[in-house]
């Protein structure tokens, strides 16, 4: 069973490059905090906790949409691995 999960995890990796990781860490925090501020204002203005919750969840959903998928722009600076080179070895 654990092998299945391991395999699934490997397929669902969807990696992004290093500069994008830094960018996403900042971007999702900013979005969620702004969402909290806006939904707080909406909640007080409408005097409804339900409205506030819906507003906040919308912002969280947008943050997830922006951060979760490995969009093309997040995969520009892919790592370039050093290629193995054939070396002649003298066995004598």
């Amino acid at each position: 069973m654990s092998d299945v999960f391991r395999e699934l995890n490997g397929k669902l990796l969807f990696p992004v490059d290093y500069p994008s990781q830094t960018l996403l860490a900042k971007r999702h925090k900013l979005l969620v905090v702004i969402g909290a501020l806006v939904s707080g204002v909406v909640g007080v203005a409408t005097q409804s906790i339900l409205q506030m919750g819906v507003c906040y969840l919308c912002f969280v959903f947008v943050a997830l949409l922006l951060v979760l998928p490995a969009w093309k722009s997040y995969r520009v600076h892919n790592l370039e691995w050093v290629q193995p080179q054939a070396v002649a070895v003298d066995l004598k």
Binding site: L12, L13, H28, V33, G35, I49, V60, A63, L68
Partner: protein, 200 residues
């Protein structure tokens, strides 16, 4: 933030953390609204309180081993406006009429509840009761409840959507003195005998 699961964990973690601050914000603003609306200084008017004493021998009415136990009920008039207790964080308000009295040794205040009501809407928050009957039979640990001075008060308790319960009481009390049963019975007997002995 490398893989999909890491990114999901990070975003959900941030959302929950910021959500807790949002909850604190709700609690703070609702408290501020209560204070600015003077919700802790609400007034009420309790009047026309009439006690009714029954003697019970059932254990469902506080009797132990069949010993007589005095049960009290009251009828009362009540006016109170609890609309100020409703704000965006109020789920419902529980309001209850209590009576405070000293115990036999005068060392402690006992408190009993005669009546209560759950108010779920701001539209129902204006109480205007006339000759309302108490909901509960009340008895003391001691045998008797008569001969005591009961101080009636209307309390309220806000049950919020988020945060702790908020308790308070209204200004305006009514002191009810329940006369001793023996004295009242004696008086009644005396008046009966006086009526029967008097010539028609």
């Amino acid at each position: 933030m490398f893989s999909l699961s890491q990114r999901f964990q990070t975003v959900s973690n941030t959302a929950v953390t910021v959500g807790l601050f949002l909850a604190a914000f709700i609690i703070g603003t609702s408290w501020f609204q209560l204070v600015s609306n003077h919700a802790f200084d609400l007034s009420s008017s309790i009047s026309n309180v009439t006690p009714k004493i029954n003697v019970r021998t059932s254990r469902y009415y506080g009797s132990v081993n069949g010993k007589a136990k005095e049960n009290a009920k009251v009828s009362f008039d009540l006016e109170a406006d609890l609309t100020k207790l409703f704000n965006w964080n109020t789920k419902q308000v529980f309001t209850y009429l209590t009576a405070e009295y000293e115990n036999v040794k005068h060392t402690r205040q006992n408190e009993v509840t005669f009546w209560d009501k759950i108010i779920t809407s701001k539209d129902d928050a204006v109480l205007n009761l006339t000759d309302a009957q108490s909901k509960y039979h009340v008895w003391d640990v001691q045998e008797k409840l008569t001969g005591k001075d009961l101080k009636l008060k209307l309390h309220w308790n806000i049950q919020p959507w988020v945060g702790p319960l908020v308790y308070g009481e209204t200004d305006g009390t009514f002191t009810l003195s329940i006369p001793e049963r023996e004295k009242t019975e004696k008086k009644a007997k005396e008046s009966e005998s006086a009526e029967s002995s008097s010539p028609n």
